[in-house]
Symmetry: C2
Subunit: 601 residues, 2 copies
Amino acid sequence: MARYTSMEFIRFLLFDTHRVDTLFKYERFAHLDAEQTWMILESAKLLADQEMFPYFKILDEHPATYDGKGAVKTHPQLKKIIQSAAAQSWIGGAAKFEHGGMQLPEMIFNTGQSIFQSANNSVQGYIGLSTGSADLITSFGNQEQIETYVPPIYEGRWQGTMALTEPQAGSSLSDIITSAKATEKGYYFVKGQKIFISGGQHEAVDNFVHLTLARIEGAPAGVKGISLFIIPKYTLEADGTMRYNDVHCAGDFQKMGQRGYATTHLSFGDNDDCRAFLVGEPHKGLSYMFQMMNGARISVGQCAAAVAMAAYQASLQYCLERPQGRLVSEKDPSKPPTLIINHADVQRMLLTQKSIAEASLSLAMECNKLYDQVHGTEGEEKDNNLLLLELLTPIVKTYASEQGSRSASLAIQTLGGYGFTTDFPVQQLYRDLKIMSLYEGTTGIQSMDLLGRKVVLQNGKAVKLLILSITNTMQEASAYEQLIPYAKKLGQELQRMSKVLEHLSGYAVKGDLERYLSDATVFMEMAGHIVIAWQWLKMSVVAAKKISQSDFQSNNQSFYEGKIHTMEFFFKYELPHAEACATTLEDQHTLTSIKNFELFN
Amino acid sequence: MARYTSMEFIRFLLFDTHRVDTLFKYERFAHLDAEQTWMILESAKLLADQEMFPYFKILDEHPATYDGKGAVKTHPQLKKIIQSAAAQSWIGGAAKFEHGGMQLPEMIFNTGQSIFQSANNSVQGYIGLSTGSADLITSFGNQEQIETYVPPIYEGRWQGTMALTEPQAGSSLSDIITSAKATEKGYYFVKGQKIFISGGQHEAVDNFVHLTLARIEGAPAGVKGISLFIIPKYTLEADGTMRYNDVHCAGDFQKMGQRGYATTHLSFGDNDDCRAFLVGEPHKGLSYMFQMMNGARISVGQCAAAVAMAAYQASLQYCLERPQGRLVSEKDPSKPPTLIINHADVQRMLLTQKSIAEASLSLAMECNKLYDQVHGTEGEEKDNNLLLLELLTPIVKTYASEQGSRSASLAIQTLGGYGFTTDFPVQQLYRDLKIMSLYEGTTGIQSMDLLGRKVVLQNGKAVKLLILSITNTMQEASAYEQLIPYAKKLGQELQRMSKVLEHLSGYAVKGDLERYLSDATVFMEMAGHIVIAWQWLKMSVVAAKKISQSDFQSNNQSFYEGKIHTMEFFFKYELPHAEACATTLEDQHTLTSIKNFELFN
């Protein structure tokens, strides 16, 4: 079978780099050990091998399609996948025992998801959405809501979704107008249109649970007037029957990628009979939704990384098998051609991909571990974990999606013309990946979040915590001679970042927030490169330690040397672009806020 | 109608920036004047508006498809387009009067093609291939070959193609094995397989003329044993009948983009009855083919620029119409939303696209003008024009295709989730664009060509000529105060490039060609940024001059100010990445030539 991920690398990340074993001291995870954890992930790999990966291309060729009446036709395999995933706890596995879960750390649960994302990113979407929806209900719903909706979602019988976007509002949630009217019966009547609802209708489940943002009549304008509702497609009545709840799928969106993942337009209350159940308190919907959204952002970043990883593996396999051309030093045409992996430029393209995909997966795992630590610690430690997680969330989402696209483009490039044909998976991975910079807040939105909210949290404490974490890694690296120059280099980049932030904050202090934020995306690019360099140094410390151990088995040596080598590659080829971003950011010339649009002609 | 290009910008490039009028002094073009030239281009725009652009999406939805037997089904509109283009001289228009052409400069002819490329890049491919094939026959074929093949191609009745690639050889032309056996009748019998043959079979013409590289039996190994043949699908017999020439279409390639453009697998001589007609002398085929290939490389660069332009225009139109969100300085949710073009990050994305697409089109025009100058001048002047053209050819091909993909990705980004749906053209343009970095030599091949061949031509004379041209522009810019800092900055970049070349040549001098070339792609990225900065400065000089003229009409002012503004944008946001490339190139650490492939795991 073609390789789409590397279990050896996942093992290295989980046990050596990010030390999942440190979580087992928390009471919630005390029932786990390393061996058991690995068995769980091997079962995920088996499921992906058998039921997901073989359908990767097939689902692209048979996209989810609206039938014109309210149904969305999906491939029959989808039902099998959702049922198998549910049976093996890949929907509810991170939930507590009392909610039917296995109390897995997110770090392990999401690593399993990353295997699915590499194997078939469209189908993982359905599963991930259900998980997030059920978790949200568990966090903020009442007992009855939890009992009604969570079990069928975890069992794969019902699909959870998040219904936020409206046609007129797009990313601007303060402008949503879907309305909710209170009734004496406890529920609300909802009316409105939601678009881009992933998994909003398909053939693999019996019911849909739409977690929907709407505005209760008379609510304040803006985000402070948004409430969260559970809106099932069918309500479960007291007599056990299912009642159609006036939730109509009005259409779908055909897309350039993720074609197996249904993207729907939902219409609530066309016949004024759509019952919605308030979650938590009125007007607090957006703050609740952010639990799911933050998880989704990390998941999208991880998915982008996992797809880039699949593209890298396909690219590597091709380069190891394809003979073509000769080395610059050996041009004799009577000699047989060499494998293309011997060409310097092909090695550069492979290392670029590896440096992006592997470190992005590492950063996603860093985030998942922080999430587990937030839930396992108390007081200042908890606060610090949360702050750092909040800072890293937009970064992992953006770096992995933006650079992942570039990485998949290089995967195509290594295959030459073949890469552009549907005979090979790399072009599909490239198409699929493009959505990742749009999902759950575009790159522009993430960048505003980073610079406008996360950087300024508690007077910049999150940035200080990041610098502290990176400095710790630098100190560890200093124990290995080969790593010292890279630790120093990373220190210089941190200083540069601080200088840039100081420069930018000058605008904010003067009250010119528009200018402060205008190059947020460039700052994001710089921060992303630095954080990824950190992940590479972190992996290199582990690799250097392994190699230096006296009982080291030499048959693993090249795996670890490859980590250090890729770190060196990233520092030489990628990291200099962080400095280029700094040059742009420190340039005082203002080029935005154009009022005369004729300038664009 | 939606905008897909800007005639105002094309006029600015043609008449003001690149001064097409200077060509009219050559005898070959003495029959032309500016007004006539513009009428010709307006007729191209009309043709594109009426027959090409309306079928852009339709051809993607109804891709060229092999029928399993030898035919490739194409949309009926294709025949109409080829016939209309031929009738309006858009196949043979640049040819001499004696060959049925209009003796148009390439600069004008290819500007017309760029309009077609923006409107519908798949269909322009068929036209462009026919032009290149007929021109090649005219240059190197004998009188009989010219008379037999050129008129029906120019008339749009026959399709010309170029048949180079073979399954086992890919980019490595020295390894082609298609064989040619001489007969006493003057023709050869050819046998072999060619893949990725664009336009190799379809329903819009009566015959195909495949310009094919093959190896005459007993020829030397490598590129020195390759000959060029004309292989028609049907030969025209003395009695006027058409004889099937044993050229079989054995299959096609389905692709992620350019789906309207048939990509075929051709089999020559399955029944040992495929007659081929030698062009020019034996074993000189590759040198002849390079005429067509060089033209094709510029054309691919121009096409990438034209597609990026179409994506920019679609993106700009959307941003001017779509209200969403509020400015950072105006968060009151009771106020109506603003147009998204008012958001700083959207302006940044638009200016990035504009800075890439417009300057790439300008660079393509620079190349087309140099081509005309080569053919209009003599002696040293001719040699210099040719040298500079040879240096710029891989750069325009690579910069436009690599950065064009990034540009189209930003076009999707400005549309948010809508950009990923098939309801909007930007995703198709993004998919189409990805082939441009693969066609006619991948980015890796172009970069080796630039650093390994073009830079070292005549002891670096081509680079000196480039520096001279750029320095001239810098001097012109120095007359305008606003441009002085940018002229200086460009001078610094030129110095940096010279320093990098000096550093790299150290490896070459030591005989380590492998190391000299190993980062050729990074050098290409740097050179591309500098050359594009030059194009922006060049356009800005014209704009500054226009604005300073006393009789300047103020209603055009923002168009010209927009040029200077975009130049400033490019220098601030894009050019710093050239320095990042220099940092990588000057880093002495060697990371390539990996022999142990386990390092990639």
